[in-house]
Symmetry: C2
Subunit: 245 residues, 2 copies
Amino acid sequence: MPEASSCLVTKLSHYMPLSDLDKERLARLEKSERSFPAGQEIYQGGDENRNLYVVKHGWAFSYTDLPDGRRQIVKIHHPGDIVGFPDVALKHSTTTLRTVESVCLCPFPKSSLDEILRKSPRLSALLISIALRDHVVLIDVLRAMGRMSAQERISYMLLDLLARLRITNRSMTDTFRLPMTQSQIADYLGLTNVYISKTFLRLEREGFIQRDHDQVRVLKEREMIELTDFHDRYAEMDTSWFPQD
Amino acid sequence: MPEASSCLVTKLSHYMPLSDLDKERLARLEKSERSFPAGQEIYQGGDENRNLYVVKHGWAFSYTDLPDGRRQIVKIHHPGDIVGFPDVALKHSTTTLRTVESVCLCPFPKSSLDEILRKSPRLSALLISIALRDHVVLIDVLRAMGRMSAQERISYMLLDLLARLRITNRSMTDTFRLPMTQSQIADYLGLTNVYISKTFLRLEREGFIQRDHDQVRVLKEREMIELTDFHDRYAEMDTSWFPQD
DNA sequence: CGTGGTCTTGAGTTCCGTCAACTAGCGTGG
DNA sequence: CCACGCTAGTTGACGGAACTCAAGACCACG
């Protein structure tokens, strides 16, 4: 019983037209699904690396802790994302996966990926491109962490979320839901919850954003792009080199 | 006129035995070579993304600048590394490549990579694994930048370099050559040259390291591994899923 | 023997962290 | 329905790690 369209198919279709066969292969990844409540850990760093996951709905994130408890969130996962790709080359997971809110995930074994890699060169090229794109995005995050102030980092994060969410929701303009707590945002940006709070208030006071509960509205997108030298890595990719199946 | 063994072949052989055909394919990547003096830019961020490069000898690094000049070095390249992999999914380069010292590079077109991807599944799996491994390493760097003190960051960097250099130089113990300036190290670790200097002196004073010109000796590797919760991502990879050609 | 780049040193500053108290919202249960 | 407890967010005082600026030392090299 295939749904009208999965988030994964929507997201991938944004970059290239998918054949029915491709869609069928992707649907197989979403065959089984499981729901989890908010704040649940799905797997832990060091666990044997069995499954990957497609996010069906809800937000989640991957993080690592230092032994003394300092935490770094390394990736925020949205519906349509594939979770765990960077770890497939390793025997054990390097990060812990945790839900932000109520989440539905589709686990699938590594071997399903193998099958796609062997049988569908064009779809493989797309999946690899997305993994590489995520690598480039991580480089952008690294730049933000290494060289940007708190205000710039938050601005960068909001712009990045906007760009990502626009891929699956074309009608979205300047407002979106940010279900993460300020402590989680702090762990993502390498700051503290207290300083996140103060910087959000400052951004609001200076007219960059508005907030209402978990809704965020970006008012000065242009200025914030300028401020952070932001580049949208999501809108387009180079598919010109993709093989024809 | 193939050399006895290239760095690239040495590095890849560490993870799986290479067939003569594989070695021949890799040798093709190193067919043409060019030398560059220290401090030279090879390509710039935004340039059209034509070639990849194999590093033959010498160190180089990739970086991005903010418009006001703040710099973040995102990857240090050693002999045997392939430079530019994360960018293949994009039309334009996202980073600038610069030599640390006198360097010899082998440029090769994207299309050579295509050929390997199409014709050699096993070698493809290895190259993809290395790209994913580099992604995991970047996550480690992100954690260091987000959550570690200057002392911990430098320790992490030294351990990472040790682990990487040991792959190609099995006889290496605790001493290696670090040709980067302290300003470059600062741009890599998200600090300033002044603070790098002070922190290096402190590490020396506290008996963690010794320095002599550009030679660094790591004296308390065990403690530094503990301090930074360091994981060697280079020593082994999961090759169990690789296809047999 | 000058010259330019790298490293070191010190004084003063700042951004962000720590700690702790307080407020607001929300679900639970008596 | 209100007391309660819990979590998230805000606020303020204070502290400290890392930055800035500037001067000086130490090379390597022409």
